[in-house]
């Protein structure tokens, strides 16, 4: 098996050097998600920054995929709008469910396209999605998102 297709350099880099890790002082919404099979944990938090953009914080423990995914998420969405976060989130979820056959849109997904290879490993898809599911819950809790539709 091609281990490199799973563990792209970007993933390993985010795993070793997580961006924006840490919890917020005054979160508007906070969600703790766990992967019951392997115990990976993520707490994801949202608030508004001074300009009305998204402020994100997180903490967690788990495998490289779950932790790098959270780091990439924060890098991509911090400071942006809720609408943007929702668009990226939906694109990421779609990529993860494409079983390796998806054509990721680099425009939308940025570094997150590095996770395309994960979709071929069903047991790891949940790891990659953990932070993104927690984000959705945190935004709902903060009143930033109203629909709780699971794609």
């Amino acid at each position: 098996m091609d281990l490199e297709s799973l563990y792209q350099d970007i993933i390993l880099d985010h795993y070793k050097h997580p961006r924006g890790r840490g919890l917020l002082e005054h979160p508007l919404g906070s969600a703790f998600h766990v992967n019951p099979t392997c115990g990976d944990e993520i707490t994801m938090q949202v608030a508004r920054d001074a300009d009305g953009g998204l402020e994100l914080g997180y903490d967690g423990q788990g495998c490289s995929i779950s932790q790098a995914s959270a780091s990439v998420l924060v890098e991509l969405l911090e400071g942006g709008t809720v609408e943007h976060s929702e668009a990226v989130r939906l694109a990421f979820v779609a990529l993860m469910h494409a079983q390796g056959a998806g054509e990721p849109d680099e425009e939308v997904l940025g570094d997150a396209i590095a996770f395309a290879g994960v979709a071929k490993f069903p047991a790891r898809v949940k790891c990659a999605l953990l932070a993104w599911m927690a984000l959705q819950d945190a935004e709902i809790q903060a009143g930033l998102l109203t629909t709780g539709e699971q794609p």
């Binding site: 766990v34 019951p36 490993f121 069903p122 047991a123 790891r124």
Partner: protein
């Protein structure tokens, strides 16, 4: 009619001889069906190529095993018009029905501690009632008796007519505001009666009760779309529909599956566990504690594909034709009395009868001596026998691999029994 000769060739056991060389005539499919080669091959292939723990491992085999298990769930759910995540695997229909009954007794016990967290529809007490029918299999009777013993609720039942149909004249008074659960059999395993479950479920919902259908004898024999039954929960077994032993099904609406507390607890059904407390995964995982019956799910999916290839409408027509033939043949025998509907309207192919002057057990024994396998006894529906004034019955229950020759063999056996015991 189905091409029975071709079908028979797919079932290795139907080539057997019994009792010193008599060719086997298997007419006991109401108890359990035989299995086509495709089911045996699917199970074996799973063990030879895919076997591993599901939903727990990250290695290649574990992924393949999980895929096989979940693909089987999709196939079986699709067979009854359901979404995969609405289908819970159990070991048999009896467990499925107990799961529902325990949802009530567990909710009742848990509500004593913390009423807020529990759905009040499931909490029972004195003054509440559960409604079943007088033609239930013990599997849809005894669990409710136990719920009543534990919660103080009262068990009521829809009575039978002498012909073995439900007497629905009192439906609206029997199912009233006190009623929390209505659980009825779709097709009786002893009488062959097909009940108007939709009407009963609708009445259940009028009073806010939960509606449950025991579909053990309908899913294998006719097209069933769980949504059309109008129930909240539907239970059936795999082994009566070409599948392996050791697997059963429970379908439920998202609403009721979310409301019911877990039944068996342990691995694979949790979300978080500490020594002090646990939280649970969403359905269907919530109800599938422990290592599941993976090979059996895979085998049952192969059985379902076999039935789909025949077409369930064709299966139902075939059985209808056999039922007509059997009823006519038995009606022509002096001293033989059908227990259950005499006509083929709203009835399946399982046909019970008694023979004047002979005990059903002795009739079955004579048939057996001629290679004809039928069921004798109370068929796990003892109160139904009592209601219809018979100690027991002999039952012919054909399936896709039976033809009119098989029925002829049974009829000849009945005549032989009458002669042997000197009653004709």
């Amino acid at each position: 009619m189905l091409d029975v000769a071709a079908i028979k060739a797919d079932f290795p056991i139907l080539d057997s001889t019994v009792r010193g060389g008599q060719p086997l005539v298997y007419l006991d499919s109401g108890a359990t069906s035989q299995k086509p080669r495709a089911v045996l091959d699917a199970e074996r292939s799973y063990y030879e190529h895919t076997n591993a723990a599901v939903h727990r491992g990250a290695h290649a085999l574990a992924e393949a095993a999980t895929d096989a298990y979940e693909a089987a769930r999709s196939v079986i759910a699709g067979f009854v018009g359901a979404r995969p995540d609405a289908l819970v695997f159990t070991k048999n229909a009896t467990e499925s029905l107990n799961l529902v009954a325990y949802a009530c007794s567990n909710a009742t016990a848990l509500a004593r501690e913390d009423a807020g967290a529990i759905d009040p529809r499931l909490v029972l007490g004195p003054g509440d009632s559960i409604v079943i029918t007088e033609m239930e299999h013990h599997a849809n009777l005894v669990p409710w008796q136990e719920v009543c013993r534990k919660t103080g609720a009262t068990l009521r039942w829809l009575p039978l007519t002498d012909e073995g149909r439900l007497d629905l004249s009192g439906l609206d008074t029997l199912i009233d505001d006190s009623t929390k659960v209505v659980s009825v059999v779709h097709q009786s395993n002893i009488l062959g009666t097909i009940n108007p479950v939709r009407r009963i479920m609708d009445r259940a919902h009028e009073v806010g009760a939960i509606g449950v259908v025991d579909a053990c004898q309908s899913v294998p024999h006719m097209p069933v779309d769980v949504h059309e039954l109008g129930a909240d929960l539907v239970a059936w077994s795999g082994h009566k529909m070409l599948g392996p032993t050791g697997i059963g099904c429970l379908w439920g609406t998202p609403d009721i599956l979310a409301a019911m507390p877990p039944f068996l607890t342990g691995g694979s059904m949790i979300e978080m566990v500490t020594m002090e407390r646990s939280t649970f995964a969403p359905a269907p995982q919530k109800f599938e504690a422990g290592t599941p019956m993976v090979a059996q799910a895979v085998g049952l999916a192969a059985g379902v594909r076999y039935l789909e290839a025949l077409g369930m409408s064709a299966v139902a027509e075939h059985e209808h034709a056999l039922a007509t033939y059997t009823l006519d043949a038995l009606a022509a025998l002096p001293g033989v009395r059908i227990i259950g509907p005499q006509s083929t309207i709203d009835r399946g192919s399982a046909i019970s009868f008694v023979v004047d002057g002979l005990h059903p057990h002795d009739v079955g024994q004579v048939l057996d001596s001629r290679g004809v396998a039928v069921r004798v006894g109370h068929h796990c529906a003892w109160p139904t026998c009592r209601r219809l004034n018979v100690p027991a019955t002999t039952r012919i229950s054909p399936y896709i691999y039976n033809d009119t020759d098989d029925i002829d063999a049974a009829v000849a056996g009945i005549v032989a029994a009458q002669r042997f015991f000197g009653v004709a």
